[in-house]
């Protein structure tokens, strides 16, 4: 039994993740396209299935049966290996994450967050090798950009993570969340500047707009992916979106309280536990109201099915909250389920919100130029994050001196954040002052 628990259960979990993640990614892409369509005054995918719900499956089938083209002069082995490396690193990073106190494949890894960050950074090899092996100029430039970008922003992201880890005092992912529970405050509130730095750096790390230079389609066609097609291309795609989920999960764990609900230790706010089932019920009722308005019978049935699903989910979410109220004797037995189910909901909710923010930025902002990206990284984010680590450290020492903990720690961290903010504005102001000179001539050398 012990053996099964120790080795086989994680293995099965891992297999499930490898099998299910492409599907999740497919639907993340669909959601992204739908949100994009909504922001751009159009409908988005509508043809495959009701409201395009089967689109990811159609896309997957298309990609799988596409001709697999390997360029004549490509380095075949590396060309074959690169996308696999990329996706393997991304999937491996998932193993370290904790979706709830019970859902973690690599349990009790004492270097948890370091493992996740380190392994997901390995994905860059896939990009660099892929770009190099394609033997194409566009791919090569895309790969070069990507490596430079990742190296630069990894530093800022790491420094931002250090701020959170200072509060947690541990690298173990489950313990980090536990620390936020005992202190009663999310680290994102204690170190907002670090959270912001990580937010920006994580966008850059996942090559998302406005930092999507490695695959800037208007310049480099598709960057390092230019020569890849069919399944290989979809592996890169999978890696990119998995990485998005990974960085969002890391941010959630470290800055947004992981699977904890908002104000998890404030008991008079316990009614928040009812919000998730209520939300699902609202969606279900909305579907029911819309059902008679659907033109086709299939669509009506579909709406009913969605409503039913929502009610079922609501029931599952409500059960662990309601049971202790009805039968207080079962409270202890229900506790793990409460943490598992509602914790899972909050975790997924926070990750979704984080990813939604990514998408929102992508549809709103133009793309940075490469040298501007580097300048932002090295001249703004890295100094800011280093100064922020120092300030947060000082704030913590001051907090210990005055015996502050939890919410009262804000008394020292807020001034620290304000100083960091002033530093940030100062850096931006000096940047702007130096810009006109550059504007007169050619753009500054990004590789210098």
């Amino acid at each position: 039994m012990e053996f099964v628990k120790q080795y086989w259960a994680p293995l099965v979990c891992g297999l499930v993740i490898v099998a299910v993640l492409p599907l999740i990614v497919g639907y993340v892409v669909l959601v992204e396209r739908k949100i994009m369509a909504d922001m751009q005054a159009r409908l988005g995918p509508m043809r495959v299935g009701p409201h395009g719900l089967l689109q990811p499956i159609a896309d997957a089938v298309k990609l799988l049966i596409k001709e697999d083209i390997i360029p004549e002069d490509a380095d075949k082995l590396v060309f074959w290996l690169a996308p696999v490396l990329s996706v393997a690193a991304a999937l491996l990073a998932i193993a370290g994450l904790a979706i709830g106190p019970a859902f973690q494949i690599a349990k009790d890894v004492n270097i948890g967050i370091l493992f996740v960050v380190g392994v997901s950074a390995m994905g860059i090899f896939g990009i660099v090798l892929g770009g190099w092996a394609s033997n194409s100029h566009y791919s090569l430039i895309g790969a070069l950009r990507s490596s430079a970008q990742l190296v630069s922003y990894e530093t800022a992201a790491g420094m931002a993570l250090v701020c959170g880890l200072l509060f947690a005092g541990t690298l173990n992912i489950a313990s980090i969340v536990e620390a936020q529970r005992t202190q009663g405050i999310w680290f994102g509130l204690l170190a907002p500047v670090a959270f912001f730095t990580y937010l920006v750096a994580s966008i850059a790390e996942t090559n998302r707009a406005p930092f999507d230079l490695p695959e800037a389609e208007s310049e480099l066609v598709a960057g390092y992916m230019t020569e890849f097609s069919g399944f290989r291309w979809s592996l890169y795609f999978l890696a990119e979106y998995t990485n998005m989920i990974v960085v969002a999960s890391v941010a959630t764990t470290l800055f947004l309280g992981g699977w904890l609900r908002p104000f998890s230790e404030t008991h008079w706010l316990n009614f928040i536990d009812f919000l998730p089932p209520l939300l699902m019920i609202c969606i279900g009722v909305y579907c029911l109201i819309r059902t008679p308005k659907q033109p086709a019978r299939v669509q009506q049935l579909f709406m009913l099915a969605v409503a039913g699903l929502c009610f079922a989910v609501a029931l599952v979410l409500a059960a662990p909250v309601l049971v202790p109220i009805i039968k207080p004797s079962l409270a202890a037995a229900v506790k793990p389920y409460y943490e598992g189910i509602l914790g899972g909901f909050w975790f997924v909710f926070k990750v979704s919100a984080y990813i939604y923010f990514f998408m929102w930025l992508r549809f709103t902002l133009p793309r940075y130029r490469f040298d501007q990206l580097m300048r932002l990284g090295w001249h703004f984010l890295i100094p800011l994050s280093i100064i922020n680590v120092l300030l947060i450290g000082i704030a913590m020492i001051a907090g210990q001196y005055f015996h502050l903990a939890g919410w009262s720690l804000l008394l020292t961290t807020i001034p620290a954040s304000i100083i960091a903010l002033i530093v940030a504005l100062f850096i931006l102001a000096t940047e702007q002052k130096s810009e006109p000179q550059k504007a007169s001539g050619a753009a500054p050398d990004s590789y210098a």
Partner: protein, 380 residues
């Protein structure tokens, strides 16, 4: 068009790390060369140290075709040059032939021509804005721009049945009388358009990234612009106040009040601002024009067979992209002896090398976008 890249002293400069320069072939199949432009870029790292535009992938011999068609038969062909501003092309051609025939379109035809041409200018600028923003990485403005452009195309469709290659005008006036609700349609479009321009400006004008990508990029000084023969917004953004609508009024432009926006530095950002303001001005012209459309005939007295007297004529109009000129020689037969077209895109494209040198690859797409070229017009 081909620039001699070998004699430029800047080419001899030492590249970083002493490595050879990289020759990158951009196009003719590239997402952001706006059609089939091919640019050979010499790169040092990502820096452009030389460039060469290779054109002709869309050459259809429009000028030669003219010599084998009658004057009326050739009119639809000009729509296929700058296919996103077909109405303007048609106006230029019709007015050139009218000048050759020494007839003048009746006032009603002139006003309707002006309205449609100004709508076309807005449509063309909208297309430019959407694709330019897309090149720089902003995905969303494209769809907003196409939403408004759709309204304009609907007006064209109602007027003459076609949306893109309209052939809206005839030599001597118009073939179709304005449909009943034309004025109302134009007015409702103009009313709705005002806040929409503000939306685009909110998305881009003060955006830090947009400023970083466009300010100081692709500077074209006024004297260079004049020397290259650049016209239209490209010239005006460099600070030269030259607009044929004011300088040599045609159609009904002398009746309306409008401003000519000019830039100061001649960078990509200035060209953006100039075009945005031009859309506003075009909107104002449309509003003024629909207020008072004269009644009367829409066609001047021209024969069914056009035989202009032998001679030559040059007539140019301010197309959305710059000076669109037609130089027509008549030998007294039903077919023109020679039609030479001065396309604004082709001439403006000459400035590309000057603007792109020293910038990065990412700026190249911004510069191609800001020149607002249409390859159908460059190659003809």
């Amino acid at each position: 068009m081909a620039t001699d890249t070998t004699t430029d002293p800047r080419d001899k400069q030492q590249t970083l790390l002493g490595a050879d320069e990289l020759v990158l072939n951009m196009g003719p199949q590239h997402p952001s060369t706006h059609g089939v432009l091919r640019v050979k870029l010499k790169l040092d790292g990502e820096r452009v140290i030389g460039s060469e535009c290779m054109i002709g992938y869309l050459h259809r011999g429009v000028e030669k075709i003219a010599e084998h068609r009658t004057y009326q038969q050739f009119a639809p062909y000009v729509d296929r040059m700058d296919y996103v501003a077909a109405v303007s092309n048609g106006l230029g051609y019709c007015e050139a032939i009218e000048k050759l025939l020494m007839v003048e379109a009746p006032p009603r035809a002139k006003v309707i021509r002006t309205i449609l041409t100004e709508l076309q200018r807005i449509a063309s600028h909208l297309l430019w804005l959407g694709t330019h923003a897309l090149d720089i990485g902003a995905l969303t403005p494209l769809f907003y721009c196409f939403r408004e452009r759709e309204e304009i195309l609907k007006i064209f469709e109602k007027y003459c049945g076609a949306r893109l290659t309209t052939h809206a005008f005839r030599i001597g006036g118009l073939q179709y009388e304005a449909y009943d609700t034309l004025e109302k349609d134009v007015e409702s479009f103009c009313k709705a358009f005002e806040p929409r321009i503000k939306d685009y400006e909110d998305l881009l004008t003060q955006n830090r990234i947009w400023l970083g990508r466009t300010k100081g990029v692709g500077i074209l000084k006024a004297e260079d612009a004049i020397a290259m023969g650049a016209t239209g917004p490209v010239l005006r953004a460099s600070g030269v106040k030259w607009d044929i609508r004011k300088a040599m009024p045609y159609a009904a432009y002398d009746q309306y009040k409008f401003e000519i926006p000019v830039g100061t530095t001649g960078d990509t950002y200035d060209r953006y601002l100039v075009r945005m303001e031009e859309m506003r001005q075009s909107r104002l012209i449309c509003l003024q024009a629909i207020e008072n459309i004269p009644t009367g005939p829409i066609m001047a007295k021209v024969g069914k067979v056009l035989k202009p007297p032998p001679g030559e004529v040059y007539h140019s109009i301010e197309a959305p992209k710059g000076e669109l000129g037609y130089y027509v020689i008549s030998d007294g037969t039903v077919q023109p002896y020679r039609v030479r077209i001065r396309p604004p895109s082709f001439v403006n494209l000459q400035a590309f090398d000057k603007m792109a040198r020293g910038h990065l690859v990412a700026d190249v797409v911004a510069i191609i976008g800001t020149l607002d070229i249409v390859l159908g017009e460059v190659d003809r």
